[in-house]
Symmetry: C2
Subunit: 457 residues, 2 copies
């Protein structure tokens, strides 16, 4: 059977299929039951037992290569795929039939008086389609498909859509941040009120941090947005996140932020500072949290409620897209292998340690760290606790580690430290200068904890 | 100046100094001001400006080798050290003078009818002393000093104290878990109602996970306990945590748990399952959180409020102290260096990946993973999100990664996966058997998410 891709439009709960919808390659018992009701892949079907009870209900997926001939594969409402064993005594009922896919509008109408919002597509769940042969989600929708898939969005904004690339966010390298930063700066220079960047959620927080350092001043907001549930699922957060991201893009804000669901229910989207945000749950819609900081704003419908200090729009956007990919992030663990530092020092210009507690690592690894620093590698340390700040002066181990030349980064997230180190190493070949820049706050990435006081922040 | 160590007793907010308290090696302007009032290291002093205003107040620390002769070093009430620049026009006022240290009782009285609680000392802040020359905290108190430093504890329990070792927890290796597990099993076999393990907080959660796998059945609780604030600070949590840990040790519980402050105020200690607990803040007293699970109990005074299912005491304790130190934990990041896997595969028998999102990594690293698996290395994957579970079937990248032979561990913490892999590799040389054991729930370390349903857990 050839690979068939059935795509769904973002924000549309109905299933759309391309022409030529097939029966999914079912044979045997399952094939007979499905053929009896002319069920097609993408139909919402119910498997019923001889007594009339429903065994399972879901979107029909194609026959799975590892399943027997007596198994019907369904995508359940919760998004998961399940194989339902059937016998000739069972029956299949088609609840709703899939409708053919309507090609999205590609023209971009311009209307006087509406704010111009640029949408830069990078891929991810928010712009993904489901391969109903395997049940897996692939990146696919272009930025304009995405932008115009949300009803009404084009009525409120003059949308400009650009498909920069379409990759899973876990496949992004630091140099991809530079591509996004350049595109965002260009759109702002060309008059966009703000920029929306649909992005896979896996590394969206880290990209946001990288962009925060590359875009030192912004004439408008750069809003990264994703979705935790693909758009074929009723609980998808794609539409609401994208709508609110566009609203945030028109505000008086000169920062890189992430806009994602704030809580478990619909109706509130949190705006997180790009250097403070982290994906803290694999699947929940509220996965993104500001760490060691509060969200800048909560957006609900058309209401933007500002919660924290934020930078206003700057007269011009300042771009510094230099970036170094050769940076390694290492988490410390019991018996941490010093060879990880030793080996990385030969391949990378920077090492970010996610130390234990206040910024510690086993003393057995100090020699490797000292050697790396001696080779001109910039070694910085953060805390794997994530919340709270490094303080190397409390314990003798921390003080000893400091003497190896490690730079402690206070309450900066390990991933933000990684993004910053990539950017700073792009700007200078001088390790001392890079160390100095790492300690200089540039985009709200760290607070001098001693200056703040309080212990339980 | 020779190194002088001034120790404080746990739970006593007053400052104790050994005999022969010195002036801290101050000379010049600072020395003159301090000598004028006979200030000694450990005294609570206030530096006053010519107009009588107080510049700073804190415990006098010795002269710091890097400070000028015009700097007085104080330990502030919040625990941090500060250098105060002074001139001859300033003055020092001694608020309270340090009192000499009272040596702790070392005899262990036994009284009929009191439960026997074993205290196994391993080091950490809870058993630490402050080096007032440098202001750093060192591990020092022996287990019996520690046990008897809490007023009244010896009146309620027959305490048995053993100083197993005294190291910073970041210096512990997996094989140290075996030492603790053996000692705990021995005390339980010898009739202890429960075992309390004072431990440094940095890696306490990981040790708790290791002990959970090594002690497959327990005739009594093994309670790890630490403190986030050293005992010389008014906000120290050492006493309350230790008192409640002893209470937990007498309960009908056959698990390894961590007992630490539950919230920002005193009065409630949370009991976390050893395989589910993580240090989530560098300095707050409520740093320890159960992840993907609730605390087993909340203890308040003498009240134990059970919150979740827990194992009762077993008739006998079962110990399996086999452990493999050659396990590497690697966090995935943008542009992750595949050489980290490649190189580790030559040195380690197991690799734990903390993947992005649902358990992903960049496709450019798949080859290195496949090669590692081919060499017989057991490669498992968890999520760096910490909350939520891996699900490799949603995205094509995840499915491709599965095909490389990676074992996804559901909602298991990366650090718990590390501890489990160390233990399972200690039990078997067969990678297939280890992979099977990694998926078999042994100590509440993971829940089969598909069985649970719900998406927002």
């Amino acid at each position: 059977m050839p690979t068939r891709h059935y795509t769904t439009a973002v924000g549309d709960p109905a299933m759309h299929v391309e022409e030529g919808a097939d029966t999914g390659g079912y044979v045997g018992v399952a094939g007979a039951l499905l053929d009896a009701v002319k069920a097609r892949v993408g139909d919402l079907v119910e498997v019923r037992r001889p007594d009339g009870s429903a065994a399972d209900r879901g979107l029909l997926l194609p026959h799975h290569e590892f399943s027997g001939e007596d198994v019907v594969v369904l995508k359940l409402e919760n998004g998961y795929n399940v194989g339902v064993a059937v016998t000739a005594a069972d029956a299949v009922h088609v609840v709703t039939r899939a409708v053919p896919r309507v090609p999205p509008l590609r023209e971009i109408p311009r209307t006087e008086g509406r704010p111009a919002v640029a949408v830069i597509g990078t891929g991810g769940t928010i712009a993904s389609y489901v391969d109903y042969r395997t049940g897996a989600v692939h990146p696919a929708l272009t930025a304009d498909e995405l932008a115009f898939s949300v009803p009404g969005l084009a009525d409120r904004y003059n949308l400009r859509a650009e498909a920069l690339f379409s990759v899973h966010s876990e496949d992004l390298f630091p140099h991809h941040w530079a591509d996004i930063a350049r595109a965002a700066a260009r759109h702002l220079e060309q008059g966009a009120a703000g920029v929306v960047v649909p992005h896979g959620t896996d590394t969206m927080g880290i990209t946001a941090a990288g962009l925060s350092f590359m875009l030192g001043a912004l004439s408008g907001p750069v809003v990264l947005v994703g979705s935790q549930r693909s758009s074929d699922r009723p609980s998808s957060d794609a539409t609401e996140n994208l709508e609110e991201a566009c609203l945030v893009a028109t505000q008086d804000l000169g920062e890189v932020v992430v806009a994602m669901h704030a809580g478990t229910s619909d109706g509130a989207v949190a705006v997180h500072r790009g250097t403070r945000v982290r994906k803290m749950h694999t699947s929940a819609r509220w996965a993104f949290k500001s760490v060691n900081s509060e969200p800048i704003a909560i957006v609900s419908g058309t209401d933007v409620s500002w919660r924290g200090e934020h930078r206003a729009r700057a007269p011009r956007t300042a771009l510094d897209d230099r970036v170094e990919d050769r940076v390694v992030l290492l988490q410390v663990y019991p018996g941490f292998d010093p060879e990880l530092v030793h080996h990385s020092a030969r391949r990378a210009r920077g090492i970010v340690l996610a130390g234990t507690g206040l910024g510690h690592m086993g003393a057995h690894a100090f020699g490797a760290v000292r050697e790396a620093v001696g080779r001109g590698v910039v070694v910085v340390i953060t805390s794997q606790c994530l919340y709270g700040a490094t303080n190397m002066n409390i314990y003798s181990n921390g003080r000893d580690l400091l003497r190896q030349g490690v730079v402690p980064l206070g309450d900066m997230l390990p991933e933000t430290a990684f993004a910053k180190l990539c950017c700073m190493l792009g700007r200078s070949q001088d390790p001392d200068e890079v160390r100095r820049m790492m300690l200089e706050p540039l985009a709200g990435e760290a607070v001098d904890r001693r200056a703040v006081g309080g212990e339980d922040r």
